[in-house]
């Protein structure tokens, strides 16, 4: 029987709010399972870039990462945010270790090829070092991972989407652990009615998901996220949980909140 592992992604909406972040980390600290946290960036990088007179260019909601912006996200995601999370978790008796993709070579990527848009220093993940991550976990360490991968051939960090990173890490570790991939979300789960925040779909398997899609019930913006989540399950992840950050404990331990995706 494989040991349980939680791979939890928390986004900028929690990171940006000190009270919500502290409450989230307290909940996270009490989860008894082996766990990995992948954190997003939030608005701090944009605010610091503005103060440093670095223009933030967004195309289709994606940040274009030039060298100056890469330096800012490396500082803010890999330094300021990551170390604040680690120091707080250490104070909560979690033996946290902050990592970017470059550290111990855990997340390798290639710089995204330029097609119609040059995204700049953005990484498409090519390899996860599941051995080093497993080594940290079995030693009782809790990896706290910033949304930065790296390209060894360029000797460069690369800006990387935290959702994608969480999914890739969950899939890579499914060989060693029974993985529950948890996305903390602004809503309480996948909604059957986007206008009713309480209309959470408790469980979805691929057939039910297809039926919801056919009926036009699932919000269109959720479809790429759910397609990716089911792809992770097909690649060996045992369960994907989508829940609000404040329901983390109940969604994981009691399975009484959020949406659970499984086969």
């Amino acid at each position: 029987v494989k040991e349980s592992l939680l791979v939890i992604k928390v986004g900028g909406n929690v990171i940006d709010n000190p009270l919500a972040c502290q409450a989230f980390l307290e909940r996270f600290s009490k989860l008894p399972q082996a766990k990995i946290l992948i954190h997003g960036g939030g608005k701090i990088a944009t605010q610091i870039a503005e103060k440093l007179d670095i223009e933030t260019v967004m195309i289709d909601g994606r940040r274009i990462t030039n060298q100056a912006t890469l330096d800012v996200v490396t500082m803010v995601y890999g330094g300021l945010i990551n170390k604040k999370l680690v120091a707080t978790l250490q104070s909560l008796d979690v033996n946290a270790i902050g990592l970017t993709g470059a550290d111990a070579g855990i997340i390798r990527a290639t710089k995204r090829p330029v097609k119609s848009i040059d995204y700049g220093f953005v990484g498409d993940i090519t390899a996860i070092d599941d051995k080093n991550l497993t080594f940290f976990l079995t030693h009782g360490l809790t990896p706290i991972i910033a949304p930065l991968s790296f390209d060894a051939s360029l000797a460069s960090m690369l800006n990387t989407n935290a959702d994608t990173m969480a999914s890739a890490i969950a899939v890579a570790l499914a060989a060693h652990f029974e993985v529950n991939l948890v996305y903390c979300f602004e809503k309480k789960g996948v909604l059957s009615n986007p206008n009713n925040d309480e209309s959470v779909i408790a469980a979805l398997n691929p057939a039910q998901y297809d039926a919801y899609k056919t009926a036009g019930v699932v919000n269109k913006g959720m479809i790429p996220k759910l397609d990716n989540a089911f792809a992770a399950i097909c690649a060996g992840v045992s369960q994907v949980t989508i829940c609000h950050a404040q329901d983390l404990t109940e969604a994981i331990n009691e399975q009484s909140q959020g949406t659970r995706l499984c086969l």
Copy 2:
């Protein structure tokens, strides 16, 4: 017989100069021994603090670290500089892992008590987790350590002198390894004549050091550094080497450059 370990400290003068830094990392990457790098901060933090309109207050050459300054040094030392070093070393086939004191709880400290001067968020080291550092080293990882410790009771990072950190790490690991603590220096070593950069003293034991001090030969500014270095040797470090960054290879492998301190 204990395995050899190099604990190497490199300062801001190298970090601030991209060509010198790249050359240093290439030399570092080729050293066959187990090794740890502790890096200083350099001028980048001061420049970024200025751009962010955070005033840098220095008293007796020491930065006063208020909360805004702590955030800057956490970003710059723990993020920007540390991850650039790690990504470059990974490209040179060193399995580097960037760490601050908070990561895996390796360097605990207390916030310096306020006496005549309030240094702010500055850490006085209380404990090094030699077990976790040994665990990384024996797994083939090369820790790259930023000059930041942490206080779990405050859930805060703390600004910490890199020289002091290197010495404390070297002493803590002397129980497990035969440690050579290497300070990369602006000069080629300890000089018998401060006006002659070539007047390097090749070797110093405590008796020779006392004789040089009595004769007034050693530059007064060096005395606290050398006192600390001999204290490290008395606490179990096998050797302290003081050399120029560009002489790293010869100073370590051939013992033909720099100053060596031992009993």
